[in-house]
Symmetry: C2
Subunit: 222 residues, 2 copies
DNA sequence: AATAAAACCATAGTTATTCTATGGTTTTTA
DNA sequence: TAAAAACCATAGAATAACTATGGTTTTATT
């Protein structure tokens, strides 16, 4: 009987207990599961680093949001994923995130290209087991909410560059146009032009910013 | 007990018999299935048109490849999908295709944005049933091979415009550079430049065309 | 092996796009 | 109602991509 080794990273201990309880008790067809855990960024990195020298994890489960570490730049599960891809490319990576917004999912899909993505509200005993089986057998595995985010994105035939995305994101969190000059690397006039252009692109010409944000969300860009 | 009405379009009668035999015999939890069929483009369009005036199909299953009709432009399942989206937007559309290549899947995903995509070699009794349930409950539904095509595409962070795609496609079918001038709407020098640019983009600089094609296929563009 | 064709590469000039800078007008906010 | 921000338009600068052209290298053909 093979042993599938899993590392689960989440800052909520109870979540980890849940994963462990379910997965280690499950009798899979060809294997059983042993689940290791980490509750913060440094611990996760350390365990992954160590695994590279001893025996690799088969699957690494990553939460995106990790409680902030004291000072220093925020280290997220996304960073762990990028690190793991470099360090132990053979290990499969699956995100377990409460983010179901397209912006986040798309970002992760590009930066890490994980083997799976589960939106937490979609997770239950059955889907957890299905995920492990699918990942070991024929990835990828996505839960329903992740899939619809992906579908929306695939259906679009236009692409936004970095500046466009930044402008949209800033709009969505209420940044004033004049304050975007600081973080978008365009002149004020440039930003204004882009906004106008974006409204045309999303078919909300002559409407207000809220309409633009709604459409962008609709089409999977936010 | 609700009735779910399905229209299946395929030029292989036997395939339709298979769908019908399985789906109408299945006892779903909340409904049973009645399956109507069409074996060519015109018949499909006509049935869809008629359904718009009477009662809509809940699901339309479409094969992409339909045996060529005499003269006139080739009418494919893709065209039926586009037509159905316009005519009966409430009907869910699922492709049942033997194409598992990314080029085709991506094209369909953009032009029709179907609620499901099944690669035929992935289809069996269980997946057929799962598809119907998922589509009625919470679309989309994709089979494994379709999913991995989608995953590849999502992981790329660059985009090819129409000319790039045409050049890649022509390369893959062995068109000589000098002959591409006819169908790519660029000068010869322009095409050469694009090819060079594409090789840089795909990280196969200074290598031959085959390397480019392989990488493009690898990354989900062919 | 010689010759022709195609592919490859570089350059100059043209064209098209997008940016900035600027200033005026309209709308929103205090 | 006064000030701030957003909106809009235009001229000029900067950039990127295209064409045309011609030379060099590679590949195919006889």
């Amino acid at each position: 009987m093979d042993l599938v080794r899993i590392l689960a990273v989440d800052d909520h201990e109870m979540t980890l207990v849940g994963y462990k309880y379910i997965l280690e008790a499950t009798e899979f067809k060809d294997f059983r599961v042993s689940l290791d855990t980490a509750t913060n960024f440094d611990q996760a990195v350390q365990k992954i680093e160590y695994s590279a020298k001893s025996s690799r994890y088969d699957i690494i489960l990553l939460d995106i949001q990790l409680s902030a570490v004291m000072d220093g730049p925020a280290k997220t599960g996304e960073d762990i994923g990028i690190f793991a891809r470099k360090t132990v490319p053979e290990s499969k990576i699956v995100y377990m995130s409460s983010f179901s917004d397209n912006y986040r999912i798309n970002s992760i899909l590009k930066s890490v290209n994980p083997d799976g993505y589960m939106v937490k509200s979609d997770i239950d005993e059955k889907s957890l087991q299905a995920m492990v089986m699918t990942i070991m057998d024929s990835p990828p595995y996505y839960t329903q909410k992740a899939l619809s985010a992906i579908r929306k994105k695939m259906a679009n035939d236009f692409v936004l560059d970095d500046n466009d995305k930044k402008i949209l994101y800033n709009l969505s969190i209420g940044t004033r146009t004049i304050d975007m000059v600081g973080n978008v690397d365009l002149s004020l006039a440039g930003i204004e032009n882009r906004k106008r252009h974006l409204k045309v692109l999303f078919g909300v010409e002559k409407q207000n910013d809220q309409a633009l944000i709604n459409e962008a969300r609709n089409k999977g860009f936010l």
